[in-house]
Structures are given as C-alpha cells and as structure tokens.
Amino acid sequence: MENEAGALSRVAGLFSARGYNIESLTVAPTEDETLSRMTIVTRGSDDVIEQITKQLNKLIDVVKVVDLSEAGHIERELMLVKVRAEGEWREEMKRMSDIFRGRIVDVTDKTYTIELTGAGYKLDAFLEALDKGAILETVRTGASGIGRGDRILKL
C-alpha cells in the first residue's frame, strides 16, 4: 500500500467496521520508500475472504492484495519470551530454547530472554512446551509472509 499517514488506520478501520477479525497485522516500509507492505492474518469462509480481498482492494491507499494462503508460502513471526531462570529452571530453559532453535538474547541472575522465530504454530508450540509458571512475559510481532518459489508480489 501507499506509505502514507493514515493508511494503516484505513485497513484496521475496515476490519472493525465490517466485523472481520484480525488475528495479526504487521506493517513496515519496503525497499521502495513510497510503499509499505502489510501482512494480515485473518480467518473466514471463502465468501468472507473474497469480500475482505475486494474491500481491501477498494481502499484507495491499497495498491495490491494477494492471498498468500492460496499457494505455497513462508510465514515467519518473531517472539521474545522472558522466562524464569533460577535454580532448576536455568538449565531447563536453556534446553528448551535449544530444542526450538531459539536464542537467548538477554541474561540476568533470575531471567533469560529468548528470541524465537517461526510460523505462528511453532511459537505456540514453544509456549505450550514451557511450564506456565516459567513464563514472565511474551511479545510477538505477528506474522510476515512471502510466496514460495518465483511467486513475487511486486508492482
């Protein structure tokens, strides 16, 4: 979409005004500074997804809409999790982070902060695998997506 003030609120407003749900939404400028790219994760029947696609296309600031889930695509989300790292937790948390190919990016006597990247379900699985009592804080970026192979979204 056009990298203009207010473009994000037009999209967010469309979803709330028409009762579509947003599971996540990420947006940032692209290598072309006049454009920003947004990845929205939403759910709905085929009819609803068709309407969402059409309604998004109707927004003047939206340049192009692609349903990534129509074909092979890669989806990645970044999560930071602050966990307890005291006593027996300390070794356990390091092990869990390794299993999920996370990275510990901040360490104190009592906590680790683990960085984890992957599709949403992988991040969910990591949180499931941790003892609930160990989790102090989580923050997730929401998914970014891109088509597989030579499928390219570009103007």
């Binding site: 207010g6 609120s9 407003g13 005004a17 309407q51 296309n57 109707k58 003047i60 939206v62």
Partner: protein
C-alpha cells in the same frame, strides 16, 4: 507567481468548472472565504447549517450529474457536515467537501474547534486527505474531483489546516491525475458479457432488477432500449426510480419492502434475474434465505466488485460501468440469431398481469380525510410528472416513490441508503440551483422538515421557489406504523406534539404558507401553489393519521410475504 493556499483552493474550484459552492464560514476557513469574496467564477451559497450545505451539494450532484462542492470550517462545522457526507456515501454521490482544520502546529493539541476530520469521516467517504503542505493543495483537489466522480462515485473530504491556506507556492493545476492504486473498470469482461447474453436469451421468466447505478452511469437510454428489445419486465429500487420510464408497460413498479406486489412476486419467481447497478440490500430482497427458496440464475452488473457476491451468490458477475456493459449486450443481442422464447415470455407476462391486477396500491378514495397517496397523485397530475421531486425519510418518502411516476432519471432525489431525515429541503435547494427554471418540489413530513427547517431562510435569500409538500399526520408515521404492526400499538414517542403553525412559519421567513384540511381542496391548492413560479410555497396538508404504507414486507420476511391492504 506564487499564490497562497487559499487562492489555490479557489483557483482549483474554478479550474474544475464548479458553479456553486455550498458552505458556511468559520475561523479555520477565513482565508479561503476571503478568496471566495474576491472571485466571480463560482457562486457561494450560504446555508444555515453545515448539514444542509452538504445535502444541497448532494442534491445539486444528483440532479445535474456533476460533482457537488461544500465548504465548511473545522470542528463543529466539520462534524455537522458528517451526516451529509454519510448520506452521499451510502448513495454513491460524487461530492468534494473541503473542511478547514486548525493550523498544523496545533493539530493534536485539542485546539479550539479541532476535530480529527480525517478520522471521523474515514468510514463514510470514498477517500479523504489531510493536506499538510501548500505544495500539495492543487494536486490533492485534482485527485479529490477525480476520485469523487469516477468508478463508483462518492464523497471525498479534503481537510486543509489554516496555515496551509496562508503559505505560498507556485500554482500549477494538473491537467490529469492518475493513481497507481485506483483503476476503475469500465468495460465488462467480454467472456462474461457473452455468457450473460446467452443466459438472457434462454430465459423463460426473466426479470430486470435495476438500481441507482443506472442513474449514476446515465444509462437510462441503454436500459430502456435493452428492456424493449427483449420485452422483459423491469423493476427498480428506490434509488433507481426514473432510470426506466415508470409509465412504460414493461415497468412493474418499485420493488422491496414497500414495493409493488407484481414486482416482488416477479423477483421471487423469475428464472433469470438481471441485476443492473443494484446491490441486493436488506430493504430490497428481504430475507436472503427466503429469496433462495426459489431457484434462479443471477447476472449481476456493477462497477463495484464489492457489491457483487456480498449478500447473494451470483452466476454471472460482470464488473463494469452499467452504461458500457448494457451497450455491449444490446449489440450482442441484436447480432444474435436466437431470440427469447416468445410463448414462455407470454405465459410469464400473463402471470405478471394477474399479480398486477391485485392493484396493491389501491386506497380509500372516499375518505373524508386527506389521504397522503391522493396528494401525491394529484401533485403528479398538476406537475404533469415533470417535476424534480426530493423527499425526506419515512412514510411520505414511500408514498412519493409509489405514486409519483418518474419517467426521467435524476428527477427523484432521496436519501435511500442512510435514510437521513432533514435531507429533502436542502437537497431541493441544490436541485433548484442546478435547474433554475425547473419545478422543484420537496415531499416531506412534519418530523423530517423540522430537522432542517432553518433552510427556509436560505431559500428566501436566494429566491428559490421550491414547493414544500408537507404530509402532516402529527406522527413520525413510519415509526408509528411499525409500532402498530410490531409493538402492540404502543406509540412510544412517535407523536409529534407542539407543532408550529407551518403556514405562518413559512410566512415569517417571507414565503407563502398554505394549510389544506379537506380532500376537495387538495387539487385546487396544488394548482395555485405550482402556478406561483417565483415563490416558495409551503403546503401543510393535514392528512389521515392512521394511514399506513402498503404493501409491506416485515423485516426478516421474504419477498412474497407482503402485508397487503
């Protein structure tokens, strides 16, 4: 030479060929008004409330086919305009609304008369702009006119901070503007058009369902030719009236919640439905599940892809401008060796005529009270069906739509989508500016008219000889009707008490006032009023309080489940 932002605004409007700007001054637009004062390219019409400015611009746009322009100040000026903007948005009317804004440095500071106009109007505009740099004023206004008038038309708001109107820059008005993210489709997809024509020629019980898109795309001629070529029955939505001549035998009347028996029955029982510039809204097809109990194939022509497959599944979607698509179809039909099945069509027409014989719009003509339907019928006769008629919202609106037979497009002007009470008189002002010599009438109720009655003052200032037809039943009639049907006759707050003497009120504004209380006086009074070409005449008809609008499809019911007289 460098010009100020305010000068540029005024120059842009002149470049666009704007004839009238409807507006109201205030702090944030003083620089613009100073330039309005100095120019003579367009006329400024001072209204008495910003809502009326937008409705007047809207009425002007609907009657002329051009883009209407309103100018309002920041804060309350802007918020007062919002109802007008939403009204135009729901009916796809091309408007450019310029609103003042507090100076850029004050934005976000809760400054005096500050509101986030772009935020407030975002869900009810086609697009909006906040212009933060004087260098962007001209190109933004160019874009605003382009967006408002092309594709599916709609209102565009341009919010301009006061300091931007003071800053200076070189003025260049772009001849053309293109936007990479905005490319409205005009021609229908040839393959789809062919498929549609094939389906049309195979139809045994066809129906043409036409809407506001026919009027907006100036496709009346094409539609008329198309229908007559095929001999198909035609109905129209509230927004489409006049798009097909109402006195033509192929026309079955309006459809929907207060549509005719024949139109609704034919909609329900047709085998091929051709939807043309219409959007299957809830007031038109009632309950979609009931609608689909009877199978039919649907062809849907609309310029807006989001209108297609929104409420109903269609077999042949055609995205395109109604006028262009119909022209293409006419060519294909004329070139085709196949013709519609005449015996089948004849049987279908026999059925429709049986439904028509039900005479669903009959009413008690011997009543000692003035029947509102009678007033409209007489008014239709007195004006020979040639008046521009605006309406407000409620029972009177439905009676006007049912009993005034519109043979020409852009003559019936009402708030169909949003249903805005208070629309009628300011819209009629805009219509009269668009057509100074024409007869312009506003059919209204005593509830609606009081929502913008201050505009009687504007009418006096600009000598607008409107004819106000007030069907005064001392009730919010449509609310009362629902309360009678669905709320056990509990008339909660629908009685209109303490009404003014409307005739005297009109006189105090310098107009002619009339009060008509007997059926036998109706025709004479109308003749007298419409003969006064130079004066606004406010006609207060005291009508039967108990009259209801029939037929009626209760909310949630199907098209064939009408309540009849």
């Amino acid at each position: 030479m460098e010009l100020t932002g305010a000068e540029i605004v005024v120059r842009c409007l002149a470049e666009e060929g704007v004839e009238f700007v409807f507006g109201y001054p205030g702090g944030a637009v003083l620089n613009i008004y100073d330039e309005v004062f100095k120019q003579n390219k367009f006329k400024h019409v001072l209204v008495r409330h910003e809502q009326a400015a937008v409705h007047a611009a809207d009425g002007y746009a609907r009657a002329s086919g051009r883009t209407g322009v309103a100018l309002v100040t920041s804060g309350p000026g802007a918020t007062n305009a919002v109802t007008g903007i939403a009204t135009a948005y729901m009916d796809s009317i091309p408007l450019v609304v310029i609103s003042g804004q507090v100076p850029t440095a004050a934005i976000g500071m809760d400054a005096f008369q500050e509101v986030d106009m772009v935020g407030i109007t975002r869900p009810c505009v086609k697009h909006n702009f906040l212009v933060k740099d004087v260098k962007d004023v001209a190109v933004t206004i160019k874009k605003a006119f382009y967006l408002a008038s092309t594709g599916r038309p709609g209102p565009v708001v341009v919010d301009i901070p006061k300091d931007v109107t003071q800053h200076k820059t070189e003025f260049v008005y772009p001849k053309k503007v293109s936007m990479r993210s905005y490319n409205p489709v005009i021609k229908g997809h040839p393959g789809q058009v062919k498929r549609a024509v094939q389906m049309i020629l195979e139809a045994r019980r066809p129906m043409l369902y036409t809407g506001g898109g026919v009027v907006l795309s100036n496709a009346s001629e094409e539609l008329t030719q198309f229908a007559r070529l095929l001999g198909f029955p035609c109905t129209s939505t509230l927004m489409g009236l006049g798009g097909y001549p109402a006195t033509d035998p192929l026309f079955t009347g309006m459809l929907g919640m207060h549509g005719t028996y024949e139109a609704n029955m034919a909609m329900q029982h047709c085998d091929v439905l051709i939807a043309i510039g219409a959007r299957f809204d809830d007031r038109v097809i009632g309950n979609p599940e009931h609608f689909f109990q009877d199978g039919r194939r649907i062809i849907h022509i609309d310029i807006d892809p989001t209108s297609i497959a929104k409420r109903v599944k269609v077999d042949v979607p055609i995205v395109g401008n109604v006028k262009d698509v119909l022209a293409e179809m006419i060519k294909l039909i004329q070139a085709s060796k196949e013709k519609p099945d005449q015996p089948a069509l004849k049987t279908w027409w026999t059925q429709i005529e049986l439904w028509r014989a039900r005479d669903c719009l009959k009413y008690d003509r011997d009543s000692s009270l003035i029947k509102p339907q009678y007033v409209i019928e007489k008014m239709y006769e007195v004006t020979r069906g040639e008046a521009y008629v605006t309406s407000d919202v409620g029972q009177h609106q439905m009676w006007a739509a049912q009993y005034y037979k519109f043979d020409q497009p852009r003559h019936w002007i009402n708030s169909g989508g949003l249903g805005t009470m208070g629309f009628g008189m300011p819209a009629a002002m805009g219509v009269q500016f668009a057509h100074p010599e024409a007869t312009v009438a506003c059919i209204t109720g005593e509830g609606s008219i009081q929502m913008n009655i201050q505009e009687l003052s504007t009418c006096k200032q600009f000598n607008l000889p409107l004819k106000i037809i007030l069907l005064n039943n001392r009730y919010l009639g449509m609310v009362r009707q629902w309360q009678e049907f669905f709320y056990g006759n509990r008339y909660a707050e629908s009685y209109m008490d303490a009404l003014p003497d409307f005739a005297k009120l009109a006189e105090s504004y310098g107009h002619v006032g009339m009060k008509i209380e007997k059926p036998e006086d109706v025709e004479g009074a109308l003749q007298e009023a419409f003969a006064m070409k130079e004066r606004l005449v406010f006609m207060n008809f005291i009508t039967d309080q108990a009259e209801n609008v029939y037929p009626m499809i209760p909310a949630g019911k199907g098209l064939s489940e009408m309540i009849l007289v």
